[in-house]
């Protein structure tokens, strides 16, 4: 079976700045892949291109064998690639459960003629049950009835993840999920990410916190100044001189 996500020759220039430079990597089905790099390495740009929020200057992204480069975000989501946001973006005027149900948007049959039909009612009921199960899965049960605007930052992050999972993705993109979380919350998050992979969903994590990522990812891609400088198992990457160099500076690497 081929890879679920293939990124090849990806380049993004902003005027004179090359944010991503000829980047290529693959992600296999059910794998947890981490993309790391210091600030400004091009992680977020790469992420935005894969999710369809940004068009690349050149290069291609293929998802389940189909090119998705240049597709709008909603079309990419409909194909089973869902994302979370680094800065939580909840639907503040809606209850927790409805936030999650928006994530299931692509799962509903959209025919306007069945608005009043019993099958639409059944579909709605089943979706609610699945959303309730996701609330339990990410551990948001105590915040279930809370106003979304009053959730803590960590709870908001869990809501982001539950919302993306509601779309029953084949691949979930997590944009710096550990950023801003307490150590205890990070630990819980790591458990959730492993649980997602155990469900057969591939995970692409963008992260700059190595301590969070290395024990979690099965494979790591390291970026620096828009280029890939390493790609491999966490242990191999940890000891790679180029990676130490990028993260710690030349003196420490020597």
């Amino acid at each position: 079976m081929g890879p679920i996500l293939e990124v090849s020759g990806l380049t993004k220039r902003f005027g004179g700045l090359t944010a991503v430079d000829g980047l290529g990597f693959e992600l296999r089905d059910g794998e947890i892949l981490g993309v790391i790099g210091p600030n400004g390495a091009g992680k977020t740009t790469t992420f935005s291109i894969i999710a369809g929020a940004l068009a690349p200057t050149s290069g291609a992204v293929r998802f389940r064998g189909e090119p998705i480069t240049g597709m709008p975000p909603h079309a990419i989501a409909a194909r089973g690639l869902l994302r979370t946001f680094q800065h939580n973006r909840p639907f503040a005027g809606m209850p927790v459960l409805d936030n999650i149900l928006v994530g299931a948007h692509t799962r509903f049959s959209k025919s306007p003629w069945r608005v009043f039909s019993a099958s639409a009612g059944r579909e709605e009921q089943e979706s609610r049950q699945r959303a309730e199960a996701l609330i339990d899965f990410v551990g948001l049960a105590e915040a279930r009835a809370a106003d979304v605007a009053t959730l803590s930052f960590g709870q908001g992050r869990l809501l982001e993840i539950a919302r993306a999972l509601a779309g029953e993705p084949r691949l979930i993109l997590l944009d710096e999920p550990a950023a801003g979380l307490t150590p205890a919350e990070c630990e819980r998050l790591a458990g959730i990410v492993r649980g997602i992979a155990a469900r057969g969903i591939a995970v692409l994590l963008i992260e700059h916190d190595m301590r969070f990522l290395l024990p979690l990812a099965q494979r790591v891609v390291v970026l620096n100044f828009g280029r890939k400088i390493a790609d491999g198992a966490p242990d191999a990457v940890r000891n790679d001189p180029a990676v130490r160099d990028a993260y710690l500076g030349e003196h420490a690497a020597r």
Binding site: A77, L82, R89, G93, L101
Partner: protein, 305 residues
């Protein structure tokens, strides 16, 4: 089934009510019901889908004039004129929605305001077709299967309209479509990331609610048996916005509450302050925005908890 019985029961009570009211109060009651229908659809557009527009009364007028022109001037049978009128409203609503919904916030408000004003100009300059500034009058609803529906019995038509609007919008609100509308209102970028087609959702909400306003206008045409331009102008478009905000934007019950209150308030106030009720509306509006952004229904929530 129990739900259906409830809706039918409500319909019967609402349709029977004018038989216990005088001529004058029966007339006010029918107009109140029309305001409620408009507030419900405008609430879906403004409160739920988050689009601030001022074209709702233009579509109401389009339906009203369309009904009179098709039924009276062209003499089409009702069985043909009613679906044709609905189609015209839906088609115009869609034609306006596609360019208008590409605009946001202030610019959408301005563009729809311009459309509303343009519509009034067309009515005023429409010659014999629209009757110019005097509008159209002295026509009658043709008999339906031998029945003359004018006056009290016509209430049944309006009740079907109001309850149909309420049932449709409630059902849509509690479906993927209503959630998509709210998601687009709250955070379009996140909505798109969840697979919501933002542009299409906005167009659908605008076109659907505007078409509903048009259908309400078709019903209105035979309430007074007269239509004239000022009814469909800006003053009422703003009153509708006030109703939804003061009642509680985004909530169906809020829209009903706001419509009832602001429609009836001038009648209660006129012995005290004459025709200066707009002043009271202004104060209420500022108070709602400053003190209770969730409107009267938000107050109700707080005290009933």
């Amino acid at each position: 089934m129990k739900n259906l019985a409830l809706w039918i029961g409500a319909a019967l009570v609402m349709a029977a009510a004018p038989f216990f009211l005088g001529e004058y109060h029966g007339d006010l009651y029918r107009k109140l019901l029309l305001w409620i229908a408009l507030a419900l659809s405008y609430n879906f557009l403004f409160g739920i889908s988050g689009q601030v527009t001022f074209s709702h009364f233009a579509f109401y007028g389009l339906g009203a004039y369309g009904a009179v022109i098709l039924v009276v001037k062209a003499g089409w049978p009702l069985a043909l004129a009613v679906p044709a009128g609905v189609l015209v409203c839906a088609a115009v609503a869609l034609a306006v929605a596609i360019p208008a919904t590409r605009l946001e916030g202030f610019y959408l408000a301005l563009a729809t305001l311009a459309f509303g004003q343009l519509f009034i100009v067309v009515l005023n300059e429409g010659g014999a077709l629209t009757g110019g500034t005097g509008g159209l009058a002295n026509y009658h609803l043709p008999k339906i299967a031998g029945f003359d529906l004018t006056g009290r019995p016509y209430t049944a038509v309006i009740v079907v309209l109001v309850l149909g609007t309420a049932a449709l919008l409630r059902r849509l609100d509690h479906s993927w479509f209503g959630r998509a509308c709210r998601a687009v209102r709250d955070n379009p970028e996140a909505a798109a990331a969840m697979g919501v087609n933002v542009a299409r959702t906005k167009v659908a909400a605008f076109a659907l609610t505007s078409a509903l306003a048009g259908v309400a206008g078709m019903a209105y045409a035979f309430v007074d048996n007269t239509v004239n331009p000022p009814i469909f102008g800006l003053e009422n478009a703003f009153l509708l916005l006030f109703m939804v905000i003061i009642g509680g934007a985004g909530r169906h019950a809020g829209a009903v509450l706001g419509a009832v209150l602001l429609y009836l308030l001038p009648f209660g106030l006129s012995p005290l302050i004459g025709h200066h009720h707009a002043l009271v509306f202004g104060v209420l509006m500022v108070a709602a925005i400053l003190l209770q952004p969730r409107g009267l229904i938000g107050l109700w929530d707080r005290f009933s908890r």
